[in-house]
């Protein structure tokens, strides 16, 4: 294999695939990126066997061929060859030799045949999203996904595809996000998918700013054709919990407060929270919400009042500051509305104005007041 490529093009392509390379793996070959040259197209593949990314880059090809090389090693050296044109040659021992003018670098490789093959998508159905909607949906849900590998279904975002709407849901058992997009249209049967958060993150990185994105679903795999890459991902198997049963329907206490002001107040209060449980307390009364925190162990405490419109009984509710901040950061409007029950019931958080055709709801569980 032999070709010439600019450092910028090669680096950009490596940047697209390298997030799929696992940081730790029992299979050493997965630390590699696969290079396949056919005439003037260099195809690059990286996978962790769950998520695979394929991209292509234009090169001046001389001899076609393929090899897999350590992603980190080649990424590190190519990054340092800024602005140069690189001539790359692979010898019979699978050594990748980079000729960069004054410098020559040799990266040990492994035969391409040993690299895992890409998944095959069979009996496929196609779903079409606008890039903007998909981006927004992923951004607003993926933060709430669980990291608990004992509950694999919760480690992904749940998509419920209906002919006239799509619902995306994420939860870790302490907070939940549900977005209903009623502008969405799909042909064929309703279907439900749980996409791993890593795949969603990579989709989002490679989304175009405008236009449509196609998701091809077949078996337990999904393929997403993106502007400069194609992504394959295994779908998470298992039953997603019946999330509707935990969304309270009758929270009669309503609070409207400025998002930016509340974020600042919570950030200040959490400095004084117990570093382990991050507990802050909302003291709700008619015209304000007081946010307080106290670290009994170290002795610090803070209290701050924020103007708010509150209709309901005066009450005190404890929250995990991190969870509250995570939710508030997703609110696109100037003000946010909290629909609250009692101090032991889930609180609902929404923007004061929904986007057309959309219902965006977040839920946060209170914590016991210590």
């Amino acid at each position: 294999m032999r070709f010439t490529v600019t450092q910028a093009d090669l680096m950009e392509a490596l940047g697209r695939v390298s997030p799929a390379v696992p940081t730790k793996s029992t299979l050493p070959i997965l630390s590699n990126v696969l290079l396949q040259l056919e005439e003037n197209r260099l195809k690059m593949v990286a996978t962790d066997l769950e998520v695979s990314v394929v991209t292509e880059v234009d090169v001046q090809g001389e001899v076609s061929g393929s090899v897999s090389v350590p992603a980190k090693k080649i990424g590190d050296i190519v990054r340092e060859l800024d602005g140069l044109t690189l001539t790359i040659n692979v010898d019979e021992s699978h050594h990748l030799l980079i000729d960069a003018g004054e410098g020559e670098y040799q990266v040990p490789g492994i035969a391409a045949q040993e690299y895992p093959s890409l998944p095959e998508i069979d009996s496929a159905a196609t779903l079409r999203f606008t890039a903007e909607d998909l981006n927004s949906m992923i951004a607003r849900t993926s933060f709430a996904v669980s990291r608990d590998e004992l509950r694999p279904a919760l480690t992904g975002v749940f998509f419920q595809i209906r002919p006239t709407e799509v619902r995306s849901v994420a939860t870790d058992g302490h907070r939940l996000v549900r977005i209903i997009d009623q502008k969405f249209r799909a042909e064929g049967e309703s279907r439900e998918l749980i996409l791993p958060v890593k795949a969603l993150d990579m989709i989002r990185r490679n989304l175009p700013e405008k236009g449509d994105v196609e998701l091809v679903v077949g078996g337990n795999q999904i393929m997403v054709r993106l502007e400069h890459a194609t992504l394959y991902s295994r779908l998470i198997e298992g039953r997603y919990p019946h999330y509707e049963s935990v969304i309270p329907q009758e929270n009669h206490n309503k609070m409207i407060v400025n998002v930016a002001t509340l974020i600042r107040a919570v950030k200040r209060a959490q400095i004084f929270a117990n570093p382990i449980n991050r507990q802050i307390v909302f003291h709700l009364s008619q015209e304000k919400v007081e946010i307080s925190a106290e670290d009994v162990e170290l002795g610090g405490k803070g209290r701050e009042a924020v103007d708010a419109i509150y209709e309901g009984e005066a009450q005190t509710i404890g929250y995990n500051a991190t969870y509250v901040l995570d939710l508030l950061k997703q609110v696109p409007t100037e003000d946010v509305q909290f629909d609250l029950g009692g101090s032991t019931q889930a609180g609902i958080v929404r923007p004061t104005q929904q986007k057309e055709g959309e219902d965006f709801l977040m839920l946060v569980m209170p914590v016991r007041l210590s």
Binding site: R147, D148, L150, R151, A153, L154, T171, G173, H174, P241, H242, S245, V246, P248, N274, I276, N277, R278, Q279, G318, N320, T322, Y323, T344, Q345, A346, M365, P366, V367, R368, S370
Partner: protein, 340 residues
Amino acid sequence: MPGSNSVEQFKKAAQGGKVAPIYVTSGGEPLLLDEVMRAVRDAVDETTRDFNFDVFYGDDLDAGSFASALGALPMMAERRAVVVKRAESIGTQLANYLVEYAKNPVESTLLVLLFEGSSKKAWIQKVSKEATSINCEAPRGKTLRDWILKTASNLGVELEREALELMTEGRQPRLIDLEGELVKASLLVEEGETITLPVLQQVWGMEPDVDIWRFYDRSTAGQRELALQDILLLRESLEHPQGAGMFLSQTAKRLRLAWKEKRYDALRVPFADRKWSGSTKWQWGKVSSQLKSMPLTQAEAGLERLLDIDRTRKTQSLETVAAFERFIHRMALDRKGGKG
């Protein structure tokens, strides 16, 4: 400590929804710990279980997530549950947090700390004072035999007395292993039939031709070559920890019997076809007293000491000593979980 429960008592309490806020287990029998775990899971409302049931591992615990789980209130349910497996490995910072939590736990949260290893750390003692204990000690003696018979019955088979004896002999078995052996043995007989000793030996991969008593007879009769052959055959059986345990147990019984009958002469101990020296008799006395209480690791050590004396005084043929050394070394490896 507020109280102590058997596993069955805890299961009933969990089914009835009348649970204490914190439980700690004592004894690390894996099967009983699993039963506790299942009972905790079942104590949480099924429709919201995904939101209200958290499992953590003490040696891989994120402080923030754990504290959030402990402080959280149940999501559209009466109760939530938090289980910590290998709780003895919880780090100092969270241990201190737990000690404080135990003084004022969340009433709607059922916290269960499952200890697989030692639970003598100070923080565990402090938490245990505020918690209800669940006894997860492996049963012994009649309780163990009853458990085996009940398990066999649940599998639709009966157990021959000799097979039952074989299962309860040796080092303290793990119930989860015994259950596995019973399941395998039950597959070799028809439903309603009896698991006999040969069936059990077949499950354990023991050669029917291998007879421990014959080995002793050959040893004591000075038939070293034949005894050595038996050892080589026995080694196959000793690959199975239970087999090793059984062999050691029978060795101990045999030696204890010899001591009781004061036949600690060359005819009744397997590795001595020579006159006993004063020192060997003294060592033998020590070994025997240890054997009476059946601490098997000490018995091993005692046997090894005897072999050392034999070796230094050259009172035993090197061939037999070497065979015994290999045998004991093998048993020691088996006891460490088959490593090496």
